[in-house]
Amino acid sequence: MLVLRLALRTIMRRKGRMVLIGSLVAFGTFLSVFGTAFSSSAGEASRASIIDNFTGDLIVYSARSKELPSPFAFNTPLPNIRNADEVGRFLSASPEVLTWASFAQNYGLVQVERDGRKVDLPFIFYAVEPGPYRKVFPNVDVKDGSFFGIREDGALSPPGTGVTGDGSTGDRARGVMISAFQNGQYLRNYGVQLRVGERVTLLGITEGGANALPSRVTGIFEPKHYKSVFNYINFVDAATYSELYNYTGVTALPEALNAGLAAAQGGEDAIFGLADAGIGELDLGSLRSEALSGFTMIAVKLKDHATVDRFIAAIEATDGLEVKAARWDAASGFYASISKALQAFIWLATGLVFLVVALIFANTLIINVVERTAEIGTMRAIGSDKSFVRNMFLAETLILNLAAALVGMVAAGVVMAALSGGVPLPETISQFLIGGGRLPLRANAWHFVQTLVAVAVVSVLATLYPVRVATSITPLKAMSER
């Protein structure tokens, strides 16, 4: 009680200085509470937005790939997933999986005729199974036409074959979806604007050369989120993509040809010898074509995000799939890093503020100690232990700083309540951080508790040296003080 009484009265006696210190502590507390709430909200919103808009909880990709999947790495496409069907069956059979969608990224040309001349328009695109993709990533706002015949409510095409999230082909309408922004760029740079239903020729580059495929524009869209990226990305349906890039084959070759090829063991003469054996006279009509996927990535959404690491381990360990999987943050390119960098910046800024406050506080306490040399010496002379002096300064520090921290927390609470509709951010920052819009601020008790603990710890640390100076004052100082 004596210690508390002395501490309180000393604070009141030195009001001016204490108000200054308290203001700094309150500001640091405000910054810490608001900053950590902002930071964690941004991290959570960024995670949710990335998962919802372009990665899912994880992305499955070929085990042959030397690169991590990145939805925006068009210049270094990943290898195709060879066992796409088996992977699809694995995902469909996994109880942890909510939904999934296969896609690939590539680039090509859209050729149109205007006034009798052909205009080649460059475009980068996602090749998607329209139904599953739209179900997994509802990021497309169709402005004209349709998303390959898939309604906005995700109504899917009839079941078919191929790698899909739910067994449907989703190829009701074939062609290309053009971003409205991209279309504007075409108009500005090429004087051409594509229209829904317009016939175009798609040009794709393959290992064998350039392929051309008649197609048409099925729709114009705007991305709902991450406009900074998806404004530049267009869509091609999976069937068109397979055809354009020769991802087709036959379901089965005649048994005799397979046996002959096996017996040839790669020998050139033996292979050509097969023709002499009459195996080359195939009845082409008996062959059935199949569409190979050509997909390089499968985005998977899980029922419970917490199971992501376990699920990745399971799929990578499954024999025969020949795939790897990357968590959403690893697969999001630099987008997850932006959020992490922001969090790190806020932590650093908060830490620096606390450091500055601690230094100013320690300095002020040392001045207090020097000014109170006679008082401390007197206390020591008339029987106070060093621990009494130590406790007195600790009590002063904790009372002042915790009271200031409460003020800072109340201020932070008021500001956060006022921003309950979301924090307005500059559009560019918002786009990169959370895909656009206001940042929903989610504060919880932990932000307040951790700040209070931080204030207490920093206060005690800032008091260590001044207390050491204070406890080194001997009673002799009281006697020699004139």
Binding site: E375, T378, M379, I382, G383, D385, T474, P475, M479
Partner: protein, 230 residues
């Protein structure tokens, strides 16, 4: 019966490269109930001698015995306990705790590790407040008191723990002569009524005359008692 004995006490300390000998073999014996002045000019060593007596400094050599115990080998914690229980201090600059009022300043030594109840403390504090004549100033803070009143508070604070000896370092130096005499008279009356041993340093001849015995110190040595050469 002596309560304090100093035997060949020496104290030296470094001041830059120079070694200053503040006490050079002082031997003193002080009896219980004495009202003793340590006299000498500034720098003579009287304050250092007082510090030895008050257990707030330790000798470089020699022996200091208080109430039969050699305090030379005591730790800081033990010395603190010794001061708390055996010694009362009156300072030249009063050294009251500025944030506490008169009552609380006097009560302070009782609150530091004392096992007294609130009522027992109150009885003791009120007794000494009355004894020093500050009944009407109980709630005043030190900055609301005159110099003489502050020193009265300091006297009550020094006495409230019922110490064996009270040490006063030039207790009248910051007071006008009239107030100084009244303070010494107060100390003396308490000495006579309670038989508390008072030891005070002074270089004021007027105050010195109030002492029953005077130890004269010069250049770190006791040079005489009551003006007589040793």
């Amino acid at each position: 019966m002596s309560v304090v004995e100093l035997a060949d006490v020496r104290k030296s300390y470094k001041l830059g490269d120079t070694v200053v000998e503040a006490l050079r073999g002082v031997s003193v014996s002080i009896d219980k109930g004495e009202f003793l002045a340590i006299a000498g000019p500034s720098g003579s060593g009287k304050s250092t001698l007082l510090n030895m007596l008050g257990c707030i400094d330790v000798p470089s050599s020699g022996r200091v015995t208080i109430d039969g115990a050699d305090v030379g080998g005591l730790s800081d914690r033990e010395l603190t306990r010794y001061r708390r229980t055996k010694i009362g201090f009156i300072f030249q600059s009063f050294n009251l705790i500025p944030v506490l009022d008169v009552y609380e300043n006097i009560e302070f030594p009782l609150l530091v590790k004392s096992k007294l109840t609130r009522k027992e403390r109150e009885a003791l504090v009120m007794r000494f407040i009355e004894e020093v004549g500050l009944d009407d100033r109980i709630k005043n803070k030190p900055n609301e008191l005159s110099g003489g009143q502050r020193q009265r508070v300091a006297i009550a604070r020094a006495l409230v723990t019922r110490p064996l000896i009270v040490l006063a370092d030039e207790p009248t130096a910051n007071l006008d002569s009239g107030t100084g005499i009244r303070i010494v008279e107060l100390m003396r009356s308490i000495n006579e009524s309670d038989k508390t041993t008072f030891i005070f340093s002074t270089h004021d001849a007027h105050i010195m005359r109030e002492a029953k015995r005077v130890i004269n110190v010069l250049d770190g040595k006791v040079v005489g008692y009551d003006g007589a050469e040793v």
